[in-house]
């Protein structure tokens, strides 16, 4: 029996290393307990050192890539499910192409969940200016991801916002980017971030780019689910926009056509080259 401790930060590498050793030594899935971030406590702590890397087992590249996503899922069974599939792959090398296998389908679905969460994080993190002066500007955001996606997503922000310092704080893991160095720290409660006047301008944009004649609320909520709204500054306007849409459109319809402004005649003459 093995209990494998897996850290909250660096989960992917730790899982991959352990899985390599265990599968190489032929340890079957029933003999492994995966312990994420000490959640099991002392009770199950069996201190059996992991087997050394002896034999290297070949796993399909598509499995390795899928595992790199699935390890960040919030399902406590994720590590066991991955290992069980790896175990089956030893004798069923074509398994990864079988889109109808139930175990694989479940893992693919989890992979999709992490994909989506990562995508939403890229979309919905909202930085506030910390106005700290200094050579580099600094920004900070509070975000609540569904899965453990801060670590795999932070490099995206590092590639995009490389000329500024930033922090993305979450209850799970906090990422910091200072002077070009990306580091990860334990999660934290929501910090008090200073007000940022640009949020009001963003709200103005959000309200005015919306076309009240095309109200389609479900299309919005399917892509921007309500659970994200509390951390999106623009979301506070949604209620009023929906409530006022009908009236706005009616107002446009009711308005009688107006007479063109006086300058029109002159401009049209110019356009025809008569002036």
């Amino acid at each position: 029996m093995y209990t494998v401790p897996l850290p909250r930060i660096g989960t992917d590498l730790a899982w991959r290393d352990a899985a390599k050793r265990l599968i190489g030594a032929g340890v079957s899935p029933e003999d492994i307990l995966w312990d994420f971030d000490n959640e099991m406590g002392e009770l199950f702590a069996i201190d059996t050192p992991l087997p050394p890397v002896t034999r290297r087992i070949k796993a399909p590249q598509s499995f390795v890539e899928m595992a790199d996503w699935v390890v960040w899922h919030k399902d406590p069974q994720r590590f066991a499910r991955l290992y069980a599939l790896l175990w089956r792959l030893r004798h069923q090398p074509g398994l990864m192409q079988d889109r109808a296998d139930a175990d694989l389908a479940k893992l693919r679905q989890m992979e999709k969940g992490v994909h989506r969460c990562k995508h939403k994080m890229k979309a919905f993190v909202r930085f506030r200016d910390l106005r700290q002066g200094g050579a580099r500007r600094s920004f900070a955001a509070w975000f609540e991801p569904t899965h453990h996606t801060v670590e795999p997503t932070a490099p995206f922000f590092a590639r995009r916002f490389a000329d500024m310092d930033w922090m993305i704080a979450t209850p799970d893991v906090t990422a910091q980017f200072i002077d070009g160095n990306l580091t990860f720290h334990p999660g934290q409660p929501k910090p008090d971030l200073p007000e940022d006047a640009t949020e009001a301008l963003w709200g103005t944009y959000f309200c005015n780019i919306f076309n009240p004649a095309r109200l389609k609320v479900s299309a919005m909520t399917s892509e921007m689910p309500k659970k994200y709204w509390k951390n999106l500054p623009e979301a506070r306007h949604i209620h009023d926009l929906i409530a006022g849409a009908e009236a706005k459109v009616q107002e446009m319809r009711d308005a009688a056509p107006t007479l063109p402004p006086e300058r029109v005649a002159k401009i049209k003459r110019q356009l025809r080259g008569e002036d």
Binding site: F124, R126, A162, W202, A219, M220, M224, P257
Partner: protein, 411 residues
């Protein structure tokens, strides 16, 4: 008139920009700012940073440089004869808004268009100044989409292509006659020429010279256009025929369809109808079938004698119902081309079917797990444990999919 502050200008100039459907920010070159000397990145697929209650993606800061315009296009809120409030951003204001929004992760970049002020060249020059400043002074590496002014000098349009990821020129309406009727100052031939110039310039940029060097980057995300649907009397067959020509002759990346929707201070020429959103949706579906599923325009529009798409069911289903003799198809043996024509099968499902059937004979439940919509597909396929029996040819098949007729009530 009192001076407008930045927030008021933003309100006016985003309000004026919302009738442009495009907000795409995908398909350009991969860039990042890891060197620490600039801001921004583009990585293949763009990101929708928010959704408005109209269900549309907000990916870019989509604004007009100014909504003053000397033209008089009947469908447009900015036309010279309208009494809407006018505003104009300074180049610096546009640059600052873009950068500050980008730094807070609100947007992927800028989509800038403009009413025509003084002259087409002058307008285009001002837009260029903004794009150039973003790239060269701010070192901005995010996405830039410029709506070009077709009547501007070709050199200006060419220069725009060096800074922008995408250029667009709107054809506005599906036929030349409609453009003449509703956008009298615009010339369809000039619009096509401008699109042709951009295509030719992009072709050159893609070729290697004799030294093996590639030409300068030129609109890597290509060009797109927009057609307004429902303002004139064009049929869907006319519209889709026009799109096919645009995709073919000008290699456009996207044709956007924009349901004509009520605008403030509308002209008496165009009645303010409810925007034909269902029609717009069916056109996008048909457009998809043309580009990715191997359908031809005549096939898609043959179902109805009036040349319009069936609003109650999607165009692929409508085609299948008309061509039942070709069904059911066997998912374990049919060609890729035929699988793509099965209602309820997307390109991804078809890919999965092709890869999995090498290992086993597919059953009904397997298809479900692959993400096929069997509610639609089941009448048109056979699988290892499934045949549709008489379903394929049953007379009430269409009724199973079309929404029931609206209940009548006494009044």
């Amino acid at each position: 008139m009192s001076r407008l502050d930045l927030s008021q200008k933003l309100a006016i100039l985003s309000d004026a920009a919302r009738y442009d459907a495009s907000c795409a920010s995908s398909g350009t070159t991969r860039r990042d700012s890891r060197d620490g000397k600039g801001l921004g990145s583009t990585e293949g697929s763009g990101i929708c940073h928010a959704y408005a209650p109209d269900g549309r993606c907000i990916s870019l800061l989509k604004i007009l440089m100014t909504n003053f315009c000397i033209y008089d296009c009947a469908y447009c809120v900015n036309r010279v004869s309208s009494n809407v409030q006018r505003a104009r951003f300074s180049p610096d204001e546009v640059v600052q808004l873009t950068i500050e929004f980008y730094r807070r992760n609100y947007i992927e970049g800028l989509f800038l268009s403009s009413g025509i002020i003084q002259s087409p060249d002058k307008t285009m020059e001002d837009m260029l100044r903004i794009a150039k400043r973003l790239r060269e002074v701010e070192n901005f590496r995010g996405y830039i989409h410029l709506k070009t002014i077709p009547d501007a000098a070709p050199e200006l349009i060419e220069e725009a292509g060096l800074y922008a990821d995408r250029l667009s020129i709107n054809v506005e309406l599906p036929t030349d006659q409609s453009v003449q009727a509703y956008a009298p100052e615009k010339n369809p031939a000039t619009i096509r020429k401008a699109m042709g110039d951009v295509k030719a310039r992009k072709d050159v940029a893609g070729e290697r010279s004799y030294t093996g060097k590639r030409g300068k980057r030129f609109v890597p995300a290509g060009q797109s256009t927009q057609m307004i649907v429902g303002a004139d009397g064009s049929t869907d067959a006319t519209i889709l025929g026009q799109s096919t020509m645009l995709y073919g002759d000008y290699k456009l990346k996207r044709v956007y369809y924009s349901a004509f929707s009520p605008i403030p201070d509308a002209t008496a020429k165009l009645p303010l109808i409810k925007p034909p959103l269902a029609r717009e949706h069916r056109l996008y579906q048909a457009d998809w079938l043309l580009r990715f599923y191997g359908f031809g325009v005549d096939e898609i529009t043959a179902a109805r004698p009036d040349g319009n798409l069936d609003l109650d069911i999607d165009p692929k289903l409508a085609w299948a119902l008309q061509n039942r003799a070709l069904f059911p198809v066997n998912v374990n043996r049919a060609s890729k081309e035929m699988l793509l024509r099965v209602p309820g099968f997307g390109t991804r499902t078809v890919g999965r079917i092709l890869s999995t059937r090498r290992y086993r004979s597919l059953r009904y439940d397997d298809l479900l797990r692959m993400g096929a919509s069997l509610k639609k597909a089941q009448a048109f396929i056979t699988a290892h444990d499934w045949t549709p029996g008489g379903l394929t040819d049953s007379v009430n098949l269409r009724a199973r999919f079309a929404p029931p007729p609206e209940q009548l009530s006494l009044f």
